[in-house]
């Protein structure tokens, strides 16, 4: 079943790429570099999904002490951090020609950067604890704290950037309306979610094999 998922993911990514670089119209003001949005946005959204899954799996683990839940959280963290990292990178690649700068501290980027560091902390915690059961427990606690914290982070960062301060830079986006932009975006979004699911499934399998080899 995982193999089928893999093929489906590959197919949809291929379709997504075709749509992004072939079918979608060339953006008027930004030029072809805008096409990277079709990769950037799905990456970021998929990383949000990964985080939600991590948080939920952590909760399940704490309540039921189910090793499978811990493996899902672990895998989701690994795939999530890669997606966020690539998301930030693609965003910067878009930002340089568009805004003239690789980075800016506007609300959205700041929030995503914080999310990235939280992911890194999660994986770092896992990496430094040798006892598997303790690592699972501690990471589950961290996952839940981080998940509950994210809304507070978003709110505080948003207020920080918008209150008493005019919005100083263009926000990425402008996907209001135009169907010719929406469809490639949706296809890519589905593609990246499938890709995420596939990677997590493979990783969970590997983790389970490791656990069984030891026991």
């Amino acid at each position: 079943m995982v193999k089928a998922l893999g093929w489906l993911a590959a197919a949809s990514v291929a379709a997504g790429m075709v749509m992004a670089f072939g079918v979608a119209p060339r953006e008027v003001t930004q030029g072809n570099v805008q096409r990277i949005m079709y990769v950037h946005v799905p990456l970021i959204l998929a990383s949000y999904l990964a985080f939600v899954v991590l948080a939920l799996a952590s909760l399940v683990y704490l309540v039921r002490r189910d090793e499978a839940a811990d493996r899902v959280a672990h895998a989701s963290g690994e795939v999530g951090v890669i997606f966020v990292g690539l998301g930030i990178a693609t965003g910067s690649i878009w930002g340089k020609p568009t805004w003239g700068t690789w980075w800016t501290w506007d609300a959205r980027l700041t929030s995503v950067a914080i999310l990235f560091v939280m992911y890194l902390g999660y994986l770092l915690l896992r990496g430094t604890i040798e006892d598997h059961e303790r690592a699972a427990r501690y990471c589950a606690v961290l996952g839940i704290v981080a998940a509950l914290d994210i809304p507070l982070v978003h709110l505080s960062v948003y207020w920080w950037r918008t209150l008493h301060q005019p919005p100083s830079l263009m926000k990425p986006g402008g996907f209001t309306g135009s169907a010719s932009i929406l469809w490639p975006l949706l296809v890519n979004l589905i593609a990246f979610v499938l890709l995420y699911a596939y990677f997590v499934a493979r990783r969970v399998r590997l983790l389970r094999a490791e656990a069984e080899a030891v026991a």
Partner: protein
């Protein structure tokens, strides 16, 4: 009420040990003085620039001190295997968390009061009108830092690379507290009333509630072994 007695015992123990050894307190005081000098050398010349960055600098000082204090809070338990003793203590372990939190809060507030006083003197700041509001903000902010800090300190106490891991875990999570406190302090020092930063205060209260609730509920899990 055995729960309250146990929490008090832990708080008393931490305060007694700290009062007698003064290890952490000395480190914090010295560190704060050092920060004061560094800030003076790097920012002190230009009064306008100093006034603009002061809230951030003040809270940077508080946060760095918090990292120092909180990062060490379970170190005393590592000697002579006392950590094992805590693990094996029967009953609800969140009592231990509350005791530790109380001890940490006491220590941090003492140091923050000192730092604030030193800043006021050395950077010639008139705290007068802003003080009541500042006290509220500092209390709420410190509670937020200490609430999660105590939990994460327990998680990293026995881990390799503790000194690196603890700030890496704590700081991103504390962003709401950092933003809220700095922004509120900024406004207060400019003479605005506390009501003007009511939204930040509410955020701090919400954050404190969330952090305390999560920590109380999950501390048992961390101290399972």
């Amino acid at each position: 009420m055995s729960y309250a007695r146990r929490a008090l015992a832990v708080a008393w123990k931490d305060i007694a040990v700290e009062r007698r050894s003064k290890e952490t307190l000395n480190a914090l005081v010295f560190f704060s003085l050092l920060l004061l000098f560094v800030f003076q050398f790097t920012l002190g010349g230009d009064r306008e620039r100093l006034a603009a960055v002061l809230p951030g600098v003040l809270w940077l000082g508080f946060v760095l001190s918090a990292l120092l204090a909180l990062g060490r809070t379970f170190l005393v338990e590592r000697e002579h295997d006392c950590w094992e003793g805590l693990l094996l203590a029967p009953g609800d372990k969140s009592a231990i968390y509350l005791g530790k939190l109380a001890g940490n809060l006491a220590l941090m507030l003492v140091v923050e009061a000192l730092v604030l006083g030193l800043f006021a003197v050395f950077f010639d700041i008139d705290l007068g009108r802003a003080l009541p509001g500042l006290v509220v903000v500092v209390l709420l902010g410190t509670l937020g830092l200490a609430a999660v800090g105590t939990l994460f300190a327990a998680m990293t106490a026995n881990v390799r690379a503790r000194e690196l891991l603890f700030p890496v875990l704590l700081l991103p999570v504390q962003v709401p507290v950092l933003l809220a406190t700095v922004k509120a302090t900024e406004a207060l020092l400019l003479g605005e009333p506390l009501a003007a930063v009511g939204h930040w205060v509410k955020l701090l209260v919400a954050a404190d509630v969330v952090y305390l609730a999560v920590s109380l509920l999950t501390f048992d899990v961390v101290l399972e072994g």
